[in-house]
Each structure stands twice: as structure tokens, then as C-alpha cells.
Amino acid sequence: MTALAELLAHPSIWRGGELGRVASPSVASGYPQLDAELPGGGWPTAALTEILPQHEGIGELGILGHALAALSAKGRWVAWIAPPYLPYAPALQAAGIDLSHLIVIRTRSPRETLWAYEQALRSQTCGAVLAWPERIAYAELRRLQLAAEGSATLAMLFRPSRCITEATPAALRLRLDTRPGGLAVRILKRRGGVLGRTIALTPPQVVQRNFDNPPNGLDCHVMDRIEFPASAARSLRRDFGIH
């Protein structure tokens, strides 16, 4: 009986109905309700993860913030390959990411993106590799999944939501939708079977202060540091049609 239990504890054996066990360590996402549903209790290393946001800018980076900050704080490197916009240093720093461990790699073609991604995975030096490939074929995904398996890296691919119908060799695939006040995460694929329900996440609100009680009427970055008078702020608000 003990022998059987030992055998079943082997990482490459998976039994239906249980979440996949992972031999490689995971990185906590910082969201307990998400971690509970991820095999290994966090973002998996040594496996490809696909993130399919409904559209850009709904918080797909935000949900990685905790993991990236934790990895960079441990001295692991984070590589961003072919990002669609400029990764904005002041915001990244505010999110707790150590910028001395972050590199941004720009590429000129989808081929270069894949090449750079594979190099970053195979070099074994990165804690996380993020990429935004324009298009990617199944065979190429398979290649990246194999490269990821030999690494101790979070291998993240951000793909457009229309790819949802395509098959994937990735170990984990998430779909992100917006909902009032946060994100709705659906796990489309994971080791250990699909999850029927969606997970509601509330990423940290970017907005801390509202119009209603601004500290000085208005936040100013005026070089002469003139205090903006409250009356002017009121008229400004009227101009903007905000009440």
C-alpha cells in the first residue's frame, strides 16, 4: 500500500479529479482565490502560460505584478519581449518591480520574437519571460513549451482573445474579462482539468483619490510651484463638466 502511494506521488502521474501536482516550484500570484485554483498554488514555472485578455489594458499586467515584484526582488531577471507599448518605468517601479532586473527586448518580426523568447527560456537565467507575439503557430507554441519545460522560468504569452478557439500545448491558459470593479478570470486549461466557474479578482485600484476631495483642488506639476487656488480649481471643474 505504501509502495502504491509512493508510486502515485510521482510527479509525472496524474489522476483524474485532482489538481495536477507540479514538481517545479510556483510563484504566488498574490491573489489567494486564483492561487487556490492554479496547480502548484501559483503561476507555474517550467511551463508555458497563455493569457488571453478580452482586450488590451484590462489588467492583464496588473495580475502579474505581485509575481514579477517577488521574482525581481530575489534577483531573478524579468524579460519583456516585443511589448505592444512602452513599459513605463515609473509605474513599474511603483508596482515594486526592481528595474535593475528588467530588460525590454524589441524585435522586428514574429520570428525574432520567438527566437528571443526561446533564447531567454533556454539560458536558464530569467525568472520570468513575457512576450506579446503577433501570431504564433501550434508547432511554434509546442517548441516554446518544450523550451519552457527545461527552465525554472515563468513563461508568459499574451495572446489576443480570438485565439481562444485554437488548440494550445501550453500547460495553463487563462481568459480575462472585465466585470464591474475588477476582473473575471476563467481557467480554460490547466493540469488537472478545467474549472467551470470564473474567479472574480479585484486588482489594486489605480485610483486612490477622486475628484470629490482633491487635496489642493488639483494635483499640480507646475515648475514654478504656484499653489493652484481653490477658486481656479472650481472653475476648472466647471469647465470639464465635473460635479
Binding site: H55, E56, G57, Y85, S100, V104, R179, F240
Partner: protein
């Protein structure tokens, strides 16, 4: 160290070639590659006979200057093992390695390194090890690969060697053969005064030097201050990737040169010479100074892979002017961490070699109010300036390269799928009048109809309007 095929292997492409090659001295074959040898070509037979045996034999006349240059480059490389390297023209190097044994961890290790280096450069090598220079050279020439560790053993070890391995002219060898002397041992037994009269005094001087009863003074080889090496390719090479093997020879030499002077390089130049065009110059840059030939080769391979040749290449040249004192590769108590930082530098180099230096960058904040100037590119791994204060209000993770103008309906901003709801703001940013990049903007956090959080601003200068500048992501 004897390089028996130096006249042939001085031409880089013959080492890697699968065809039959030979080098002739006059009308006779001097040396040939194994491919030709298996088909019956031998040193000493006439070129006509060799061509009859192997109709597709590629042969050329020996080039003494190229051989000497190759030998000097080998000497430069060998300096990493000992400062005492001397040339034994035309095809040998003598290394004084007794003092280096402890550093390298024994004769076996050092011989392994020497053999591997020679193989990487594409040279056939025979090594002899003995307490006297002449005996070592004799062993190397005879190809016996023996290691003789004390003087008393020399006589017994060299005695069975073929007498042809001695450094004598052809007439002496002929006479020795005629009197029935076939081995070095037999030559040593000859009566001294008679043999000296017949062969000249230098004959026994050589024997005495071999046995160590007569001292031998040698001039050590001194390398140049800068590294500069050339390599004739012999044939015109049309594909850049085919140059990798030849370039490797130069890179291994560079590593040896640096090893000898405890140096390292961060930049060097590879020049590809064409027939009647200006040479193509490849500037090779490394993430950190190094003398690791593996890193050199990896970077050069990527650069060559990305290169389109304008014309066939006849010659390779490698120039390294800026020799840095090597900060020894980090050795830490935790080997794993050290490996990681070295691997990291290698990754950056690989990426940069293929994508260009500009494409691989870090980012860092800058003390500046204007959002588009509040960050800058930095060298990968550079620490951000600690003096930059964080922005007082949330900043988006994504910044657009250029602000994008938004539609405006009744003074309110609209995105493609509906009106924007302003959630927070305004944050007034007014700065930059002194450098012409004057901005006067009121920034707002807004939410689009499909619930993306974005960063928009209202232009306060005429003609005004709303712009999208960032996405919170």
C-alpha cells in the same frame, strides 16, 4: 609541440574540408590531409603521381611566410600555459611547462587543454614531454606522445625512436641509413670522434642536448602589445556562416593571447577582406569583458548568421586594440549564482548580436514631470537612480509612444467604443518651456466603455483636445 601538417593547415579551410588536399614543396608532396592519405598520397611522392592517385586532389605550393605567421599565432595562443614559449621553426613550439604544472593541476590536465585548443583551431598536433627541450622535440617529431619525467629515463625512451626524427640534414640521414643506423639509440652508440668527423660536431651536440649533458639556451617568444591576427582562407568563401569555423581559430588565439597577459576584451573587430572592395568590418561587443573563447564564438556566430556578404571573402583578420585587465570572472561561494550571472551576460550578448544593441535595454525612471520624459532606456542591469522621487499619482504600466488624439463630443473624450468616464484627476502637468518641449496638460484616469483603465489628458494649449497617453494594463 610539433604541428606536422602546418604547411597544409596554415590555410584555414583545409582543416575543415572533406576533400583531399596536399601542399607541395617544388614538385614533391610535402604534406597531405588524411583524406588524401587514405587514397595513397604520401609525403615525398611527386605531384604528378599524387594527382594520378587522386584525380580531384587540391594542391598548392607551400607558403613559408603563412606558415611562420601561423606558428607565431600558435605561440601567442600557447602563452596562456607558460611565459616560456619559443619557436622551433618551421613547425614546432617549445613550452617550458614545469612551472605551470601546479597551476593547471598536473601534466594530464595541461596536455588535455593544449590538445583541445589545437583541435578547436583545426591543427593536428603531436606532443612530446621531457626534461630537456631537445628530447621533448625529438619525441614530438617522432610522434611518440610519451611523457618522460626524469633525465635518467631519457636515453631509454628515445633509443627506440626512428633516427629520422633527429634534426639532421638529408645527407647525414642518408649516411646513417647506409651504415645501418636505424634508431636514435644506435646513433648514440656510434664512436664519438669518428662520427663527429663525418657528420660535424653539431651531431653529438644534439645528442648531448637530448640527454641533458649540454645546456641549451633558447630565446623566448614575446607577443605584440595588441592582438592582430590574419587568416588566409585559401578559397573565396561565399556564405558568411561558413566563416564561423575559420573565425573560431582566430578567437581561440585571442583567448590564449589574453590568457597570457591576464587580459580581457569587451570590443574587438573582425575584418572580412574581399577581392576588390573595402573590407566588411564587424564590430563585436560583449556584455562584460571576458576572455572566454566560447562567448567569443557564440557572439561571432550570431553576427555572421545575420550578415549578408557583399562579395566572397578571401581573408579574415581579428583586431583587438583595447586590452583590459581582466577582472577575474566572478567566483563566489555559491557556484550557482556565479553561473547565473555569467549565463545572463551570455544571453544579453546573444540577443544583442542578433537584434542589435538598441533592441535590448533596461528602463529606468528619470526625475522629470513630463510623462514622456520621466523614463529612459538604460544598460541592462543598471541600477535606477535612487534620487528619483515616485510620481505623486498613479502612473500607467503602458505608455503610448506618441499620445493618440481622441474623438471629442461636446468637450468630452470618446474612444472607439463609446464615451470615456473620468475616474480621477485632474493632475496638472506644466513643464518644459526651457527646452522647446513645452507641455500644458491636465491628466485624468478614465475608464473606457469596455472597462479598460486608461490615462488621458486634455491639452491646455490651443487648439486643445483630448489625448490618450497610457493604459493601466
Amino acid at each position: 609541440m610539433n604541428f606536422p601538417r602546418l604547411p597544409l593547415e596554415a590555410f584555414a579551410e583545409t582543416s575543415a574540408s572533406t576533400e583531399a588536399h596536399a601542399v607541395a614543396d617544388g614538385a614533391r608532396v610535402l604534406v597531405c590531409n588524411p583524406r588524401a592519405a587514405t587514397r595513397g598520397v604520401r609525403a615525398g611522392i611527386s605531384i604528378a603521381a599524387a594527382s594520378a592517385l587522386v584525380p580531384d586532389l587540391v594542391y598548392r605550393q607551400r607558403d613559408a611566410a603563412a606558415e611562420h605567421a601561423a606558428l607565431e599565432q600558435l605561440a601567442t595562443w600557447a602563452l596562456q600555459f607558460t611565459p616560456g614559449v619559443s619557436l622551433q621553426a618551421p613547425s614546432g613550439l617549445l613550452l617550458e611547462i614545469e612551472g605551470s604544472l601546479k597551476l593547471f593541476g598536473g601534466i594530464k590536465t595541461i596536455l588535455g587543454l593544449i590538445r583541445r585548443g589545437a583541435a578547436d583551431m583545426g591543427y593536428t598536433l603531436a606532443v612530446g614531454v621531457a626534461p630537456t627541450v631537445a628530447a621533448a622535440w625529438l619525441l614530438a617529431r617522432a610522434g611518440s606522445e610519451k611523457i618522460v619525467s626524469c633525465k635518467r629515463m631519457i636515453e631509454a625512451e628515445v633509443a627506440p625512436l626512428n633516427v629520422r626524427a633527429l634534426d639532421c640534414d638529408a645527407k647525414t640521414l642518408e649516411t646513417l641509413a647506409a651504415v645501418g643506423v636505424k634508431t636514435v639509440g644506435a646513433a648514440m652508440q656510434l664512436p664519438r670522434d669518428g662520427a663527429a668527423r663525418r657528420f660535424g660536431p653539431q651531431f653529438f651536440e644534439q645528442i648531448d642536448r637530448i640527454l641533458g649533458t649540454r645546456p641549451e639556451a633558447r630565446r623566448f617568444f614575446t607577443p605584440a602589445e595588441k592582438f592582430s591576427a590574419k587568416l588566409e582562407l585559401g578559397t573565396a568563401v561565399e556564405h558568411a556562416e561558413a566563416l564561423v569555423f575559420s573565425a573560431q581559430r582566430l578567437l581561440v588565439q585571442l583567448a590564449g593571447f589574453l590568457g597570457a597577459r591576464c587580459g580581457s576584451v569587451q570590443h574587438f573587430k573582425l575584418l572580412l577582406t574581399h577581392e576588390d572592395q573595402a573590407p566588411t568590418v564587424l564590430e563585436i561587443g560583449l556584455a562584460t569583458p571576458t576572455r572566454d573563447p566560447g562567448r567569443f564564438v557564440a557572439v561571432v556566430r550570431e553576427q555572421l548568421a545575420a550578415l549578408k556578404l557583399v562579395a566572397p571573402v578571401l581573408q579574415l583578420a581579428l583586431e583587438a586594440d583595447d586590452i583590459l585587465v581582466l577582472v577575474e570572472e566572478n567566483k563566489t561561494l555559491f557556484a550557482e549564482m556565479a553561473d547565473r550571472s555569467a549565463d545572463w551576460a551570455k544571453l544579453i550578448e546573444r540577443l544583442r548580436a542578433r537584434l542589435g544593441n538598441e533592441a535590448v535595454q533596461g528602463v529606468t525612471p528619470r526625475a522629470e514631470h513630463r510623462p514622456e520624459h520621466a523614463w529612459q532606456r538604460a544598460a541592462p542591469g543598471a541600477r535606477p537612480t535612487p534620487s528619483v522621487r515616485p510620481a505623486p499619482r498613479p502612473r500607467p504600466l503602458w505608455l503610448l509612444r506618441e499620445p493618440r488624439q481622441l474623438k471629442q463630443v461636446a468637450e468630452k473624450p470618446y474612444s472607439e467604443n463609446g464615451p470615456l468616464a473620468l475616474v480621477a484627476g485632474p493632475e496638472r502637468i506644466e513643464s518644459g518651456w526651457w527646452d522647446g518641449g513645452d507641455v500644458k496638460r491636465d491628466y485624468f484616469v478614465a475608464q473606457t466603455a469596455d472597462r479598460s483603465t486608461v490615462w488621458v489628458y486634455r491639452e491646455r494649449r490651443r487648439p486643445g483636445g483630448w489625448y490618450l497617453h497610457g493604459i493601466f494594463g
